[in-house]
Symmetry: C2
Subunit: 282 residues, 2 copies
């Protein structure tokens, strides 16, 4: 595995493979890798000739007071994991390399990015759109892989990649969970033992929703109250949002008679955790 | 010359040449072609294996009350001119093809796009950035050619192409003029005979600036007054702006002791004409 830090080097080293007919797959990450990331890398390895992973903690997608400064890092361990997973290139640019002096361009996606994390984290998806656009233009992959834990992010990325006619297929991959159900996240490192127990309230609330649906409940407000009360019963939790939305548009659903996505954002201690599940309604 | 109207078709027909090592050159236009456009096509033909020209009157770069609806069109004549100039592909998508229902993405460039036409035409350069990004992603050219009459547009395009790490080299080409000095523009068709005479005030004001500089004048306000009075002396004219700016940053210069760009926008009758010239100061 070759580690590349310069954009110009990536063009020389990686893009050349596109010209000779190789399929290039790409997994963009912010590092501090877990099995969720590695599931993307595994799929990428299966489907492509050349596998590129990036590690870049992108400042433009963090808001004031968020955890940009203390976002966990372990490049040595990450590099070893990626080497073991058969990655060909690891791209780890500096902030200065990605956003040199004079940088002036912004991208925004309306509609799909307005609610959920878009409401809680103003400018977050603009930052995501910007860095993903740059990374896709730098790496020029045929396919790029993203986890469905960041479900809204995936939908935003699919939107602007289509709108801007970018030449990469965006692949969404299922959420990977601990055996007790907690969705893997680099931010789980922020949890102490008590908080770790409380954090199960996110994934476990999905079972409550299934129960309610099986009991014939179709009112959003009823099921929302069940989930909110369940989360509040867990110490160290503070709800950011509990939203029942259309899986395509991410607009709130009026009732639970059609397929819907339950999207959760909950502070557990200082960690802001997200999780989601699509419920199929017969 | 093959005429293509669908994005998917352009991928099948044009991009394939990139894979087999051909150099692709691209000239995006809004049609109603004149010798200015053809000078871009000629250069593009000289420097590339495959020449693609687009004709698309892009609604997102026109403001309310501007001339989108009546922008001049003559696709038949344009196609004949391009055929004669050795163009390989003419891409003429519909508005629906470029902006299908659900389109939600915007691009903005701050700083360089703020003054001059950016002030007079709010949102104009956002629209330019959007359509050029889309066209460059659709055609995937090695080089794209733009005229320097739209000097600020060229600078904006260079800015976001660099910022977003797009894989196209942007080439600026000199302004082409009628023998009497009028800069070629599709909008010159709006001028009647009287207005056509008055329109010479733009290019002829450059000589006045040279005179003033040769006379040792270095005050912006003095030279600006000379130019403004000269333009006002011509019937049917209304000044949008007369600006002396840094050729790189497009910020107003404080005096005329270093190289500067004089940028003009003047309504002549109903036509809004622009012109510019870089003055080299010894």
């Amino acid at each position: 595995m070759k580690i590349i830090t310069k954009i110009s080097e990536s063009r020389d080293e990686i893009n050349v493979f596109r010209c000779v007919g190789k399929r290039i797959g790409f997994v963009p990450t912010m590092g501090y890798l877990h099995e969720g990331h590695l599931s993307l890398v595994k799929k990428c390895r299966e489907e492509n000739d050349i596998v590129v992973v990036s590690i870049f903690v992108n400042p433009t997608q963090f808001g004031a007071g968020e955890d940009f400064e203390c976002y966990p890092k372990d490049l040595k361990k990450d590099a070893a994991l990626l080497q073991g997973a058969g990655v060909d290139f690891l791209f780890t640019p500096s902030v200065e390399e990605m956003y040199p002096e004079g940088f002036s361009t912004a991208i925004s996606v309306s509609g799909i990015s307005d609610g959920l994390c878009g409401s809680s984290r103003p400018g977050h998806f603009d930052g995501v759109a910007l860095v993903v656009t740059k990374l896709l233009n730098i790496i020029m992959p045929h396919k790029a892989y993203f986890g469905m834990k960041d479900y809204q992010q995936l939908q935003v990325i699919k939107r602007f990649v289509a709108d801007l006619n970018m030449n990469t297929k965006i692949i969404g991959m299922p959420i990977i969970r601990e055996t007790d159900g907690l969705a893997l996240s680099s931010r789980n490192i922020y949890l102490n033992a008590d908080e770790r127990r409380s954090a199960l309230c996110l994934s476990r609330s999905f079972a409550l929703v299934c129960e309610a649906l099986e009991g014939g409940e179709t009112e959003v407000s009823e099921v929302k109250t069940i989930v909110e009360n369940f989360i509040k019963d867990h110490p160290h939790t503070r709800i950011d949002y509990v939203q029942f939305v259309d899986p395509e548009t991410l607009k709130p659903v009026k009732d639970l008679t059609k397929d819907f996505l339950l999207a959760l954002a909950v502070y557990v201690g200082k960690a802001r955790l997200i999780d989601n599940n699509i419920f199929k309604v017969m």
